[in-house]
């Protein structure tokens, strides 16, 4: 048993992502924050590649790194806020409460993510790195390769999924409906492909798709109107 190159890549990039995310918050110069956030997003796009979601990955790059963050950086540059210094860690009761709150949330999320998956951890078939798994799947029948005992799909669909996705206890019925069975599982080629994704988007989610496009239109109009306005309803306090 040895680490695959994907494992190493994951841990390296995870470290990069985490550190750059921390820097986003802790650096006082907003330009650096924005650049590090762009870096985080780019690294996330690499994770999406590793997770067999190439289209999502490039969309992440185009939309987040290429557009949203550029917008942020342009705004920050226009404001020229580089000289602003803020005391992120000035100790005050409220600040301590904030730190405790964030730490609690972090501990909780990480703890649940990790412990909730411990059952999964013992099942080696699901622990294989994505790409290796994809290769395995190519060689053998996809379903059999996925897990040696796929009779009960819920089992390797993990406690955490049931916990995190469906954290209301009353709802496991609906959760189970969406859990793929043998028949509905896509082969790895199909799974990552843009075609299958777009079929989903334009059939099951077509209404949401249209609604979101409307939202974008509204946001564009709103943003233009807001940015063009003289700003605010009350006078500047001088």
């Amino acid at each position: 048993m040895a680490l695959t190159s994907e494992d190493i890549l994951f841990h390296a990039f995870a470290a990069v992502a985490t550190i750059s995310a921390i820097l986003v918050v802790f650096l006082s110069n907003p330009i650096y924050s924005a650049l590090f956030l762009a870096l985080t997003m780019s690294v996330l796009s690499i994770f999406y590649f590793m997770l067999n979601a190439p289209f999502v990955a490039v969309a992440q790059l185009t939309v987040y790194a290429g557009a949203v963050m550029v917008l942020f950086i342009m705004v920050v540059m226009l404001f020229d806020l580089k000289r602003e210094h803020e005391d992120v860690l000035k100790i005050s009761p409220v600040m301590i409460a904030k730190i405790i709150g964030a730490a609690l949330l972090c501990g909780f999320l990480v703890g649940v993510s990790w412990l909730g998956m411990s059952a999964n951890q013992n099942n080696p078939s699901t622990v294989v790195a994505p790409q290796t798994m994809a290769k395995d799947l190519d060689k053998t029948k996809p379903v059999v390769a996925m897990a040696d005992k796929p009779e009960n799909p819920d089992e390797d669909l993990t406690a955490a999924e049931q916990n995190n996705l469906v954290d209301v206890k009353g709802a496991p019925e609906t959760a189970k409906k969406d859990v793929p069975t043998k028949e509905t599982r896509l082969s790895p080629d199909e799974f990552g492909s843009t075609a299958s994704l777009s079929k989903k988007l334009f059939s099951k989610y077509v209404f949401a798709f249209e609604a979101v496009s409307l939202l974008l239109l509204v946001a564009i109009v709103g943003a233009v109107a807001l940015a063009k306005s003289r700003g605010g309803t009350h006078h500047v306090a001088r």
Binding site: V24, A59, V68, S113, A223, L226
Partner: protein, 110 residues
């Protein structure tokens, strides 16, 4: 070589992605809580949304259900809309007050 149990621990699985996502999300929350610059707060919110996206894609992969990826698109779209409107507000505020430090805008209180 590394001991086997450590290797087992390091083998990438769903939980690794979830932990990473949890970390990023918490960092984003912390940023929202402590930063004074409105634009950086917006960035922190983007970070939180990204963390959620990572969850979606990871579940999509390990749950063999492409719906998660579809969901990411909606999140992205909404994030983009949110960023554009949020930044437009920031621009408007900056134009008026020459300031985006939110601690200067605490007039609305109980």
């Amino acid at each position: 070589m590394l001991p086997d149990n450590l290797v087992g621990l390091l083998h990438v699985g769903l939980n690794h992605y979830l932990v990473l996502s949890g970390l990023l999300f918490s960092i984003g929350v912390f940023g929202v809580l402590v930063k004074k610059n409105a634009i950086v707060i917006l960035m922190s919110i983007e970070l939180m949304l990204n963390a959620v996206n990572l969850d979606f894609v990871a579940f999509s992969k390990y749950g063999h259900n492409i719906d998660g990826q579809a969901m990411v698109f909606f999140v992205m779209t909404i994030a983009a809309a949110e960023a554009s409107v949020g930044l437009a507000i920031a621009v408007a505020v900056f134009k008026r007050f020459k300031e985006v430090n939110i601690s200067k805008f605490e007039n609305l209180k109980g």
